[in-house]
Amino acid sequence: MTRQHNYWLRKPFSRRTVLRGAAGTTVGAGAFALVGCGNDDDDDQPPPAPDDDSPEATPTPAVSGEPQHGGELTWLISATPPTLDPYTQTSFVNAYVNGVSLSRLVRFAAGVPEVEPTDFTMEPDLAETMPETPDELTWRFTLKENAVFHDVEPTNGRAVTSEDVAYAINRYKDFDESVHRSLWAFVDNVETPDERTVVIHTREPYADTIQIAGGNLASYIVPQEHAESNEVATRMVGSGPFIHESFETDNLLSWRRNPDFYDDPYPYVDSTTVFIVPDQTQRMEQFISGAVDLTWIHLEEERDRILDARPDAGFDSQPGIGGYIYLRTDRPPFNDKRVRQAISMGIDRQRIRDAVSAGEGENDQIVFVGYPFATPVDQLGDASRYWDYNPEEARRLLDAAIGEGETISTTWDHADAAIYQQAYVDTATLSMATLREIGFDIEQREAPYAQYISTTYQGDYEGMGHSPRAVFYFMDYLTERLSFADGVRARINLSYVDDPRLEDLLVTQRQQFDFEERIETIREIEQICAEEQYEIYWSTQSRSYFWNPAVQNYRPTAWFPYTHLMKAWKEA
């Protein structure tokens, strides 16, 4: 990533500078990504530094020729979305497909050659321009005049109004079954002075308002008449670039071009189909054989095989966040930080990297170390020693915490490999093997993804668990992981962290529009998390994306929504 394209490397911004920057779609801002798969989470980041041992990484986001209309784009996802209803789902697979049919106020600019995949700059989507901000508590959006819903039942091509946007935000914020209430909790109310104007009033100055309005999850506008119907789980009706046509569980979803889409000339292709292929090897083979146009998130060994087999393919690779261990810090024995520190020191991260990522990657911490502003683990002061594999010291910490020679019996819940790939399970297996050596008796409990995401990932577990890490396209994401304000556990605070020091810092950072000031606060949070080991992080991994060379004006993004497919065309 060049300095020019790196939002976080540039000089400090004022809030208005940030907004102006976001408003310009050509701004090469960017940078902070952690795609996590499961927000469930999965991740990607800035491109890695060249490495002699790496294969020739020659990202090929070129554009040739004039845009062409027609044809079909085919791509792959690893699982059937549990439901297509964006209001009640937190799964990353939902985010992939929701973004094809459904609009947001703003959307990621990434997904085209000139924008870095990890750039999380937003551009207007339903909104005509980026919002006006008369004060720090008010965000005024004007909707595009020609924005209409799909010409299908029940909307039949009616106009998108400010009431639709207000309905969506309120449903995310207040609906009993919404899993995104904490994400929109910063909103006080939404005003709709006329059919095209939406005014969001926040309870406090909130620096990430635009990112939330256009993010991976909880940003899609589904009209009331469809959102409250029985069909919302299996059919998408919105105002996005493609009209949803079919949903076959464990097989595919397909769309056709929306001829009434408000952003002419998009979309270029007539249709798009995503095939649901849980098996990673099969996904790889399908791309190699030319059966699909796009494939994504291949780890190092697969990357090398695809590079060998398809040297003609477009290719991009970025470092991405790996997974992390969460544990019940609200109850013994994990409420003792020495036990958590012992776990961190009882994990051989280098050995895990050797096994699952061809030795590539580095130790990670709560703020993904691939971000230029993040503190590298070895600069976390005394706490950085918790990332060193040191079974003797780990055992000594355990002796002090639970008694000499005592062991800890616990459970470790996680999803099976079908969705998150075998490396996800292998990472846990290797960690458990070394933890057993220092005195942990761990019962490994593997569940199908749908079961995992609706139970363990909602905090319903006994001892320990692990997950890929979530998309990190807004800095206040830390609140989602670490807050227990007013006795309410934040959405993915899976470790049940309840630390007053963190609560204060979380409030401070989300009200800071000045980037440098905010980073200072973030560093304090990093330091506390490093010492406390509320979550235990493994390592970064590289993520590789490939595409059919006939696909033009395309580049992968670190973000889940596949909205950017609308800007790609296929050469005949």
Partner: protein, 299 residues
């Protein structure tokens, strides 16, 4: 006065004596060499399963080995992608694979025998109901039935054994029923009824002993099928294997992405499954030939 004559033993005509058990076994082995070898392998596999913890050179979850190295003296079956010794894991894996194989066959055999006994002995409506229930179970693809069962009951040693036992039951029941139907018309059964024995006593004291041979044969053959079913379920993620207690099917599943590039991660667990299934099937075939009077003496 009658004349008593004493003859020497050597002058008596030779008396036909039954050979001893060992001699009988030897003769059978010579007649059925394939079955004998299969039986020996079966016994070896059982012994390995029982003593695996002592035989295995390393703990199954030990990661103190190089990664993905091929077979060598220090690692006869090589190592996997997680630094583990495949030889040790194949040995330890026999405990789950063979253990569930035997447990499920025991469950299926007991259930099938009871069903077959009742259906065959009482005949009529009871037979009709039992036979139709068995037909329904047979009508469902066996693996689908087991998967359905395990989506309701969380996989454990017992639930997996019961699931596989369930798919074994109809075959055993049908064979036992057929045998009982032919036996219940014999005179000694009528005699037993005439002197006042109740049905339960007749079934278990007079009928069951006479259908034991086919039960043993079908059970021995079913062990191979049960091992295969356990491997399939483990491969599909519905087994009970863990890092510390692997099974052959799970080993195959875990190493799928390395099959093409590191053959040994697939070949040895796969060979263990094949060897066990083949051995139990061939042994079962040989047992059938020996125990079935109609086939006795055939090659």
């Amino acid at each position: 006065m009658a004349e008593t004559t004493i003859q020497s033993a050597s002058s008596l005509p030779p008396v036909l004596t039954r050979p001893g058990r060992l001699a009988n076994l030897w003769q059978t082995s010579r007649r059925k060499p394939v079955g004998a070898i299969a039986g020996a392998i079966c016994l070896s596999l059982i012994a390995v399963a029982i003593f695996a913890d002592g035989i295995a050179p390393h703990a199954p979850d030990s990661i103190d080995h190089p990664r993905l190295v091929g077979p060598s003296l220090s690692h006869p079956f090589g190592t996997d992608n997680l630094f583990r010794d495949i030889f040790s894991r194949v040995l330890i894996g026999s405990q789950i694979s063979i253990g569930i194989g035997f447990a499920s066959v025991a469950i299926g055999t007991v259930a099938g025998t009871l069903m077959g006994l009742v259906a065959g002995y009482f005949a009529g409506k009871v037979d009709l109901v039992v036979a139709r229930v068995m037909d329904v179970i047979l009508g469902i693809p066996p693996l689908v039935l087991a998967i359905f069962f395990l989506t309701i009951w969380e996989p454990s040693f017992i639930s997996v054994s019961v699931a596989i036992g369930l798919i074994i039951t109809p075959t055993t029941a049908r064979i036992v029923r057929g045998s009982v139907l032919s036996i219940r018309t014999l005179q000694y059964i009528e005699a037993a009824e005439a002197i006042g024995n109740n049905s339960t006593r007749i079934m278990f004291r007079h009928v069951l002993p006479n259908v034991v041979a086919p039960i043993i044969v079908i059970a021995s053959i079913q062990i191979g099928n049960a091992i295969l079913a356990e491997a399939a379920l483990s491969f599909l993620g519905l087994g009970v294997a863990s890092d510390t207690a692997p099974s052959w099917g799970k080993m195959l599943q875990d190493s799928r992405q390395y099959w093409e590039t590191h053959w040994w991660v697939a070949v040895f667990p796969g060979a263990a499954i094949s060897l066990a299934v083949l051995s139990f099937n061939l042994f079962g075939d040989a047992l059938r030939d020996v125990l079935d009077p109609r086939l006795r003496g055939t090659a």
